[in-house]
Point group: C2
Chain length 381, copies 2
Amino acid sequence: MRTREQTFEIVATDAQTKARAGILRTDHGIVETPVFMPVATQGAIKALDHRIAASLGYTMLLANTYHLYLRPGTDVLQSLGGLHRMMRWDGAILTDSGGFQVYSLDTLRRVFDDGVEFRSHIDGSRHLFTPASVIATQRAIGSDIMMAFDECIGYPAERRNAEAAMFRSIRWERQCLRVHEQLPLIYEHRQQLFAIIQGGIHRDLRKRCIEELCAEPFDGFAIGGLAVGEPTEAMYEVTDFSTDLLPHDKPRYLMGVGTPQNILRSIALGVDMFDCVMPTRNARNGTLFTTRGRINIRNQRFKHSDEPIEPAWEELGVEPHSLGYLRHLFVSGEILGLTLATWQNLAFYRWLVRTARQKILDGTFRQWSHQFLEQYYPDEG
Amino acid sequence: MRTREQTFEIVATDAQTKARAGILRTDHGIVETPVFMPVATQGAIKALDHRIAASLGYTMLLANTYHLYLRPGTDVLQSLGGLHRMMRWDGAILTDSGGFQVYSLDTLRRVFDDGVEFRSHIDGSRHLFTPASVIATQRAIGSDIMMAFDECIGYPAERRNAEAAMFRSIRWERQCLRVHEQLPLIYEHRQQLFAIIQGGIHRDLRKRCIEELCAEPFDGFAIGGLAVGEPTEAMYEVTDFSTDLLPHDKPRYLMGVGTPQNILRSIALGVDMFDCVMPTRNARNGTLFTTRGRINIRNQRFKHSDEPIEPAWEELGVEPHSLGYLRHLFVSGEILGLTLATWQNLAFYRWLVRTARQKILDGTFRQWSHQFLEQYYPDEG
C-alpha cells in the first residue's frame, strides 16, 4: 500500500497530561489542534453565517454525508462545484460518513454484510449505503477529511452485538480505504480518510479494533460509538484507554463531544479534534455558554439587564449586546436572537479550545483547565 | 407655539418630475432622502443583523410603538437605555405610532373620542392608547422621529367614516404635539414629531386634513391610510394630489409602501420617505428582488445553478452565493436561507433608492426610472 504524506504534526506535548498541540494540514488551510468543528450538517451552521464562524477563527467545519446525499444530492453537489464552492467556504471541511445518522434513524433500517438499507427521514424513500457509495458521496462533497463508513451501535449493547458491529466496521472501513485509493478525485484538492474505532465500552474490542485499523494507512483515527448515552466516566475511560493505544503521530478525533468539561478533560486524555451540536443547538434553546458560566437567556432576572451577554466580549469576538436585549429577542421570537446566541456559543467554544491550545504551549494546561472547570462548574468544584 | 429647528433640507429637485433629493438631520446622523427604512418592528430586522443593514448604507430603521409597548414594555426600554442603546444601533430610528397596528387588530378594539381600547395580540390583555400615552411610549423608546397618533381606516370605507376618522386624527395629532412640547425628553437626543394625513381616497377630506395639520409645527408629514387595499392608481392619485398641497420644505413620508415600482413612481410624485415589510417578508417566503428581476428561489430551475443570486453582487454589497445554494438552504429549512434572502432584498432596496437619489442629482431620474421599470417589469413595459 502506498505511503501517504504526513498531514499532521505535533508541536507541543503537555508534561502533566496527555494533551498535545498540533497542526493538521489540508488543501484548504492549516488547522491548529486541539480543534472544535462547528456543525454545518446540511452545508450551513444553523442560524449563523459561516463567515462569522471564520471571523471567530474557525478553520474547519463538519458537514454530514447522509444529509447532503439526500439533499441536495450528489448531482447538485457536483453542479455547484462541491461543498466548498457551494458554501463559498474557503476553510477545511470534514464529513461524517453517515454511519451515525443511519444508526440514529427511527425508521426502517436493515444492516447487511455489504451495507445498510434505510429510509430517508425526508420522504421515506429507500436507499442503500455501502462503503463504496459513502466514499463516492464524499468525493462529490469534496470534503478535506472523509470519514470511513462504520456501524455505530448504541448504549447499552450486548457484547456480541458490539463485537459483530466492530468486525463489520473493520471490514467496511478497509473497503473504504481501497475505494479511496482507486476512485479518482472530482475536484482539485486532496482528501484525507479517517478511520472510526468501534467496540462499545469493551476494552478488548476497542483494542482489537485499534490494532486492525491502525495497521492501515488511514490519515487519522476517530473514537466512535461514544456520547451515545453511556455514563460520562465510561466515555473518559474508553478515551483514555484508546489514546494509549492509538499512534502518537496521527490526529485523534472524539466524535460528537461535547460539553466544555468533556472537551477539556478529553484534551487532557490526548484528543485533538471535536465536534458537537451542543453550542449551536443549545443556543437555539436559549442556553448560552459564557466565560461567566452557563445561563438561560429566557430567565426573568435578565429582563432589565443592560450588562453584556459576555463580559469578555471583545476577547471572544462577539458584539456587546445586552442580556436584556437578547432576552427580548427570544421572548419575541426574533430570528436574530437565535443568531446572536449561536454566535456567542461558538465564540465561547472557540475561545475555550484556542485557550487550551495556548496553555498546552505555555506548559500550564493542567492548572488552567482545573481552575477553569472549578469556576465554570462551581457545584462540581 | 415655539419655532422648531429646520431639520430637513432639499438639495436638488428634478425638472421633469416632482422628485426631490434631500437631507434629514437627526441626532443619530444624517439621512439622505429619498430613503427606504427597513422594518424592525420589535427592535430587530427579521432574520438579519442590523449591522448588515448598516453595512448596506441604511441609516434609519423603523420600529413600532404598539409592539414595543407590549414587549418588552416601557419599563424595560428605559432600563435598557432606550431603543438605540438596547439594539446597539447608532443610526436613526423612526417609530410608527401604533395607530395602524391597532386598526389591524382582528381582536376587540373600541375607538373612543379620547383614544382606542384594544386587546394585546400576545395575551389578550386590555390596553388603552391615547395621544398622550403614545407620545410617552415613544419618549421611552427614544426614536429620532415619532409619529403622531391617528385613526387609520381601511379600504373601502364609507365617506362619513373616513371623515370622522380624519377629524379625530386631527384632534389627536394636535394633542400629540402639545404633549410633545410639554413632556421632558428621557434621553439626551432630540425627537422630531411627524403628523399623519388621513382622509381615505376623498380629495376634499385629504385637503382639509393637510390644511389643518400643516398649520401646526410638525417636523414632517406622512401620507397615511394608503396601501390598505385600495387600487394602486388610487394610491398614486391621492399621493400626487397630496404632495401638491404639502409644504415643500418638510419631508413627506408614504407609509407602508411598497414595491420597487410603487417607490420609484412615488419618488416621482415628491415623496421622500418609505417603509415596507415587503423586502424582508418576501425574503422569508423565498421571493427575491434582484437587479435581474424578481424570482422565487424555490423554483426547480435554480437547483443546479452556480450563478450568483445577484449579478451585481459587488455593487449591491452582498456575498456571491449561488442560486443553487440558496435554493438548497430554503428547501432544507436552514435559517441561513432567510438571512441571505433578507440581505439580498434589503441590498436591492437600498441600491434602488440610492440610485434614484443619484439620478435626481444627475438630472436623469425620469429617464432612468422609466427604463428600469420597463426592464424590471417587462410585462408592464
